[in-house]
Symmetry: C2
């Protein structure tokens, strides 16, 4: 037998499985960097296309490079083959948008003439296609399920603004577009989270980038991962009439239930992204006159932190989902599109990781991920259990 | 910092990540068991539905249980909602069948009224739906891309026979149906292979079974995994006129190229499944008068084993893909449907593993798989690299 290391049933927590140059987290200090740049700097100073360029290419773009990149995004978002939406029109209107989005990825693969070209350059072009087109798929599905026609992209609008336009059929204010753009920057990558690992694991078999991204969307849909923002929204909406928030929080924790959007696998202090999202939620809530929602969030946070402190769990803080739910809600985004929008952003990071995995840029040699399991089932020795014929069972 | 274990860049080879009761491999001795039963016994004595039942339930069915199970499969294969094929009709006819199949899984999810029910019982029903319906999707796509209508399932036919009927529009001989059924038994599970790990990893976020299976299909499509059988077929077809096979094998190895279908990550002796597939290929080749293809395979095997022996690599043997390609070809299956048929079989194993992962049947507590990576990229200290504004880059 080959030498084995047993790290079973801990979900690979703390197990270093690869090198990466894409991003880095120090969970104790609350630091997140993309390609060396702090998330705070990027959220304040960079746009989402600039950030996506950084993730894919490893360096910030010059003005010329950024203009080119934005032009490519514009071109790709306007040229989705019509069979994609014709297919969407067949789907049941009650379909979960994450299932629609997962189906949409192989649909895009079918029309990609560069599918068989696995060079870095071709994969970057495919990544740009994915980044440009995911928001269009989400918006188009939302229109189609309401019996409306998908709207054409507007070349005068930025990546974020165009998404809100294609979703709502109304040009967003600059403020709204900027808030969404910042959300997209904040969610664009997060090193080896569950969905990114799915992407890398799938393409480690030499599957194409679309196969990897479709897997990432599957992982993201889970309620322990990207699905959490929709869960937070559900919680906030269900608390609409609740007066005694502190009492509700106490009862939740006393009965062993979780407060959605609190705590993180990696951060043991405030998630740097949550800080931004909180600020944006508070500002936006005031501006659109939805103080109730924001007050509710602030009250839950306050009550929860007090309860956690009493229980000695001082490391549980609001995570990225806690305030992003409110922000998205204030941008007019329905709860069931919140996780798809997470994907719209994260596809930049997924793509950067997929390309890194495929090219072996950060490591000696990419290896197909094939772990072992310990067999604890029925065993009757090397000859196997006796197979009784059907008639004698 | 939390304690870390560094096993980077080895693709988790030899790393035990979970307990499982589904299947067990002893790669040194060439042993594969499903739920305690040897693959040899199952291939000779059990049908694919019997094997799928075993994988899902952990015990062989009684006659009554098997009859019920087969009835459920029959019912599910006949009741695929029409929007699924209406969508397929929109796809470009040149689409890769693995992309079509990956898209087909969330399409099935959209019509599953039990999607939100995550109980074991509901997941077993969803698994039966998937097992029943995957072959119909593959056959329907093959018909649609030829401009033909999908054929209705035939209740008088077994799982394997009905697939050949829906694919070819001709009822297969008993012999042909039996050969395919045995192939499906042989491919139904293989413990923590890359695609099964993708399935488990995706549902560890609490994503639904369809999201997991779609990820598995993505991983299976890679040429280092399920895509290998199509590669073997390509090699066999390209050698059509080659007289000097031993010379070709020698040249391949001397120039550092691989012989497709040789060697396995786990087996260090003859893959027990390959033995069966070889026997079936030889028999079937004679019966349908395609000796050339089989002779070619035998010659490649012989020459390759001799070359490997000379090089001291005596552990490289034909793997499951080497002869399955010939068998599928002799069943009239086009090369680009060989990997989809692998999925048609493996979906039983994927489902059993997904259910195990979701219920925690084999382990203390299921944990979301979230590994770590070592950051080897640009780093400018905790304050991050200086963000130069766009105009100054």
């Amino acid at each position: 037998m080959t030498e084995t290391i047993n790290v079973k049933n801990i979900g690979l927590r703390g197990i270093i499985v690869a090198d990466t140059r894409v991003s880095f987290i120090d969970g104790d200090k609350g630091i997140l960097v993309y390609r060396g740049y702090r998330i705070e700097d990027l959220a304040e100073k960079a746009t989402y296309p600039e950030t996506a360029y950084l993730l894919l290419h490893g360096a910030l773009p010059t003005s010329g490079q950024l203009a080119d990149f934005e032009k490519q995004l514009q071109e790709e978002r306007s040229t989705i083959p019509s069979y994609v939406f014709d297919s969407f029109r067949q789907f049941p209107v009650e379909a979960n948008p994450m299932d629609v989005l997962q189906a949409g990825i192989p649909l895009l693969a079918m029309g990609d003439s560069e599918l068989a070209d696995d060079s870095r350059e071709a994969n970057v072009r495919k990544a740009i296609r994915l980044i440009a087109r995911l928001p269009v798929l989400v918006a188009a599905w939302h229109r189609i399920r309401q019996g409306l026609e998908p709207l054409p992209a507007d070349d005068s609008l930025s990546h974020a603004a165009n998404f809100l336009w294609q979703l709502h059929g109304e040009k967003p204010s600059e403020k709204m577009a900027h808030v969404l753009d910042t959300c997209l920057v904040l969610h664009a990558d997060h090193t080896f989270n569950a969905s990114t690992f799915s992407c890398r694991q799938v393409v480690s078999t030499r599957a194409h980038i679309y196969a990897g991204v479709a897997a990432g969307i599957g992982a993201l849909s889970g309620s322990l991962h990207g699905g959490a923002n929709a869960q937070v929204m559900k919680m906030l909406l269900s608390l609409g009439e609740e007066k005694n928030i502190a009492g509700w929080v106490k009862r939740q924790l006393e009965s062993g239930r979780r407060i959605m959007g609190m705590g993180h696998a990696v951060y043991k202090t405030m998630d740097p992204r949550a800080r931004f999202l909180k600020k944006m939620a508070v500002q936006l809530g005031r501006e659109v006159g939805e103080e109730r929602l924001v007050d509710l969030s602030l009250q839950i946070e306050q009550a929860a932190l007090a309860e956690f402190e009493q229980r000695g769990k001082t490391k549980i803080k609001p995570n990225v989902d806690f305030y992003s739910a409110s922000v998205y809600h204030l941008l007019g985004i329905p709860s069931d599109l919140m996780t798809p929008i997470f994907a719209v952003s994260r596809v930049a990071g997924w793509s950067a990781h997929i390309i890194e995995e495929k090219t072996g840029e950060a490591q000696v040699k990419p290896a197909l991920y094939r772990p072992k399991a310990e067999y604890t089932g029925q065993y009757c020795g090397p000859m196997g259990c006796t197979f009784e014929p059907l008639g004698r069972r």
